[in-house]
C-alpha cells in the first residue's frame, strides 16, 4: 500500500474509536510530560549552576603563582622541588602571558581583609578589585544599581549578604557612601648606616592606616570576584585600578619580605589570567606551566559538575520514563482491543488483497501516530509542568526575600528527543499487536461475528 493510503486508513481507524484513542494518546502525553518535566528540571538546575559558576569567573580564569609558592590554594603542588630559583612573577612575565593566544587579560589579584565604616559602625569584610572586563562577563547581570562608572572610580558594589549586614533595606544603600579603612604599604628606604647607600627600597615596608570614601553604586547577588584565593568570598567590590592604587597590605606581603627579593621590579604574589572561554583554559594552563609558573584552574571541578549532572539527569529520566512505560501498556491494550474489534475488517482487507505486511504497517502507523501526537502534547504538558514548578518555587523564594530563578529549561534537543522517543516507544508498543493482526487467519477473521 502507498504511504499516503496507509496514513489515510490509519487516521480513519484512529478517528473511528476516537475516545479510546484520545485517552491512549493522553496517556502517552502524560508519560512524555513527566519525562520532559523531570529532564527540564535537571537541565534547568544544571544551567542555573553553570551560570552561577561562570558568573563567578572561576571557570575561565587561571590562577598563576610563582613556583614553590605556599599552598595558598589548598592544593599541593605536584612538581618536585627544584634547585633552580623560581621564576619571578613580575611585569615581564605578565606581558608574556598577555601575549599568549586566547587570553583576554592578565591582572593581579587585589584582595585584602579590612574594615568598612558605615554610619559610624565598623564592619569587617574582604575587599576585591574587579577588572574592567568583568563589566561584560555576565557576572553583574541582574544586579541592582549600576556597574562602576569608570575603571578608576571611587565606587563600590556590595555583595547582597554584606549589604544586608549594613542595612535592613539593601536597595536603599545605593547612592550612599561608606568609608574603607585599610593598611597601606609604604616602602622603607634603606637608611644611611646600611651598606646600601643608593636610596633604593630595602625590600621591607611599613604599614600606615588610611581611609578612602567609596560611593555604593550597586548590589550584586552572587560573588563575581574573578579568580580565587585570599581569605574567602569578597563582599565589597571596587574597580581593580582603584584597589591597586591603595597599595593595601595583602596576605603575601609578609612572605615576600622574608624571601630574598633581589630585584627591584614589581612582583606579584599572584596573577589571574582570563581565557576567552572555559574550553581554552586547559591549553592555556599548560602554556603557563611551561613558562615556569604554578597554574591552577577549576576545570576539574567543572568536569565533576558535568558528571554529576549527567548522572542526575539519567536518574530523573528513569523516573520520568516510568509513566511512559505505563502509557506504553496503554497503547498495547488499545491496539489489541482494536484487533478484536476489527478482526472481521482485517479478514476483509486480506480477502481484498492486503498482504500481511500491509496489515502490520497499518497498526504500526496507528501506534506511531498516537506516539507522535502524544509526544507533541507531552512536550507541551511537560513544559507547562516545568513552568508551574518554577512559578511555585519563585513564589516561595519571593516570600523568603530571595531572587527568582529559572528552575526548568526545555531546550530544543529535549523537545525533539522527547517526540522521537515517544514515537519509538509507541512503535515498540505496536510491535506485538501489529504482528498479531498480520498473522490473523483471514478465513477465521471473515467468519468472526
Amino acid at each position: 500500500m502507498k504511504p499516503r493510503d496507509l496514513a489515510d486508513l490509519a487516521f480513519r481507524n484512529l478517528r473511528e474509536a476516537i475516545l479510546r484513542n484520545v485517552l491512549t494518546t493522553i496517556g502517552v502525553a502524560v508519560g512524555v510530560a513527566s519525562l520532559v518535566a523531570m529532564l527540564s528540571l535537571g537541565v534547568g538546575l544544571q544551567e542555573l549552576a553553570s551560570k552561577r559558576l561562570s558568573q563567578s569567573g572561576l571557570f575561565d580564569t587561571i590562577f598563576v603563582t610563582p613556583k614553590n609558592n605556599f599552598r595558598g590554594m589548598g592544593r599541593p603542588q605536584r612538581e618536585a622541588p627544584s634547585d633552580k630559583p623560581p621564576r619571578a612573577l613580575d611585569d615581564d612575565a605578565r606581558k608574556e602571558m598577555e601575549k599568549l593566544p586566547n587570553v583576554i587579560e592578565v591582572y593581579p589579584q587585589v584582595r585584602f581583609f579590612t574594615e568598612v565604616r558605615f554610619n559610624d559602625k565598623p564592619f569587617a569584610t574582604v575587599v576585591a578589585g574587579m577588572p574592567e572586563s568583568s563589566r561584560n562577563s555576565g557576572s553583574f547581570d541582574g544586579m541592582q544599581g549600576n556597574f562602576f562608572s569608570s575603571p578608576t572610580a571611587n565606587e563600590a558594589i556590595l555583595q547582597i549578604e554584606f549589604a544586608k549586614d549594613l542595612s535592613e533595606k539593601p536597595a536603599s544603600l545605593i547612592g550612599q557612601d561608606l568609608v574603607l579603612r585599610y593598611a597601606e604599604r609604604q616602602a622603607l628606604l634603606a637608611n644611611n648606616d646600611s651598606p646600601n647607600q643608593s636610596g633604593e627600597p630595602s625590600g621591607g615596608f611599613s604599614v600606615v592606616p588610611k581611609e578612602l570614601r567609596l560611593k555604593i553604586v550597586g548590589i550584586v547577588e552572587t560573588e563575581p570576584a574573578a579568580g580565587y584565593g585570599g581569605y574567602g568570598n569578597a563582599r565589597l567590590l571596587m574597580p581593580l585600578a582603584t584597589a591597586s592604587t591603595l597599595r593595601a597590605a595583602q596576605v603575601n606581603d609578609l612572605r615576600d619580605i622574608v624571601r630574598d627579593n633581589s630585584t627591584s621590579k614589581t612582583t606579584y604574589p599572584s596573577l589571574s589570567v582570563r581565557a576567552k572561554s572555559p574550553s581554552q583554559v586547559e591549553a592555556l594552563e599548560a602554556s603557563i606551566k611551561a613558562m615556569g609558573f604554578a597554574a591552577f584552574s577549576l576545570l576539574d571541578a567543572s568536569k565533576s559538575l558535568r558528571t554529576f549532572f549527567s548522572v542526575f539527569d539519567l536518574l530523573l529520566g528513569i523516573f520520568g520514563s516510568l509513566a511512559l512505560a505505563v502509557a506504553t501498556l496503554g497503547i498495547v491494550n488499545t491496539l489489541v482491543m482494536a484487533i478484536l474489534e476489527r478482526r472481521r475488517e482485517i479478514g476483509v482487507l486480506k480477502a481484498l488483497g492486503a498482504a500481511d505486511s500491509d496489515v502490520q504497517q497499518l497498526f504500526f502507523v496507528e501506534a506511531g501516530v498516537m506516539g507522535l501526537f502524544g509526544g507533541f502534547l507531552g512536550v507541551f504538558f511537560g513544559w507547562l509542568l516545568g513552568r508551574a514548578i518554577t512559578f511555585g518555587t519563585n513564589v516561595y523564594l519571593k516570600r523568603q526575600n530571595l531572587n527568582p530563578i529559572e528552575l526548568s529549561s526545555v531546550p530544543w534537543w529535549l523537545v525533539i528527543a522527547a517526540i522521537v522517543f515517544a514515537i519509538l516507544v509507541s512503535l515498540a508498543a505496536g510491535l506485538y499487536p501489529a504482528s498479531r493482526a498480520a498473522k490473523l487467519n483471514p478465513v477465521d477473521a471473515l467468519r468472526y461475528e
Partner: protein, 243 residues
Amino acid sequence: MTNPSMPHAETAIQLEHVSRQYTMGEATIRAVNDVSLSIARNEFLALLGSSGSGKSTLLNLIAGLDRPTSGSIMAQGQNLAQLTSIELARYRCNTIGMIFQSFNLLPRMTLEENIELPLRLAEVEHAERPGRVREALERVRLTHRLGHRPTQLSGGEQQRVAIARALVNRPKILLADEPTGNLDSATGEAILALLREVQQQLGMTIVMVTHERPLAERYADRLAIMGDGKLLSAAEMTKEAAQ
C-alpha cells in the same frame, strides 16, 4: 455427466486431488477430500452442497485465503501452492474478486471509499481511482448512492456495492460465497441476474457457493455438488435441466 476435470478447452481454474484437512484435538477433519475439478474461462460454476460439505473451504482455497494440505490449484496459470504469502495477496488483489453472504462492506466508509479499497491495495494511481469507482458503480447501477454509507442501503443494494468492489480491480475470476444467503428470493434472483450480466459483459469466470439449487440451475453454466468434502458430481446445465 461430463468429465469434471476437462469440461472446456480453456481452463481458468484447475484443481488436482485437492485436500484440506484440519486437526481438532485427536480428530482429523477432511474438509475437502481429494477434489479434482476444472473450471473453464468465462464459466459460471455453482458449488452446491449441504452445510459442512466443504464447498466454502474449497472456495477459500481457490481464493488463496487458505492453502491445501495436498494437491495443486492452478488459477489463471499460477500454481497457488507455490506462491509466497505476498504473491498470494497480489493474486487476491489482481486476479480474483470476492463477494460474501454478509456483504462485508466496511460500515464507516462510504460506498465510494469501500469500492476504492481494492484500488488502494493494488496501488492504483490516485488520479485513476474516481473513474474506476464510478465505472464499477455504473455496472451495478448505484452511482447515485456514491456518498452513502452501507448502513443506509438495503441488503440487495449492499450486495451490489460488494459486487462493484469485487469488480473494481477488473479480476478474471469472481468468487461468491452464498451471495444470496441474506437476501429475499426476488433480490437474490436480481443479484444473480446481475452477476450473470457482468460475467457476460466482462468475460469472467464465476465460482459461486450456494444452497439455492433452483437459482443456481437458472443462472449457472454448471453445477458441482459436494458432500463430506468430496465432489459428488459436476454437471453442465442443459436447457432441459434449467427449465
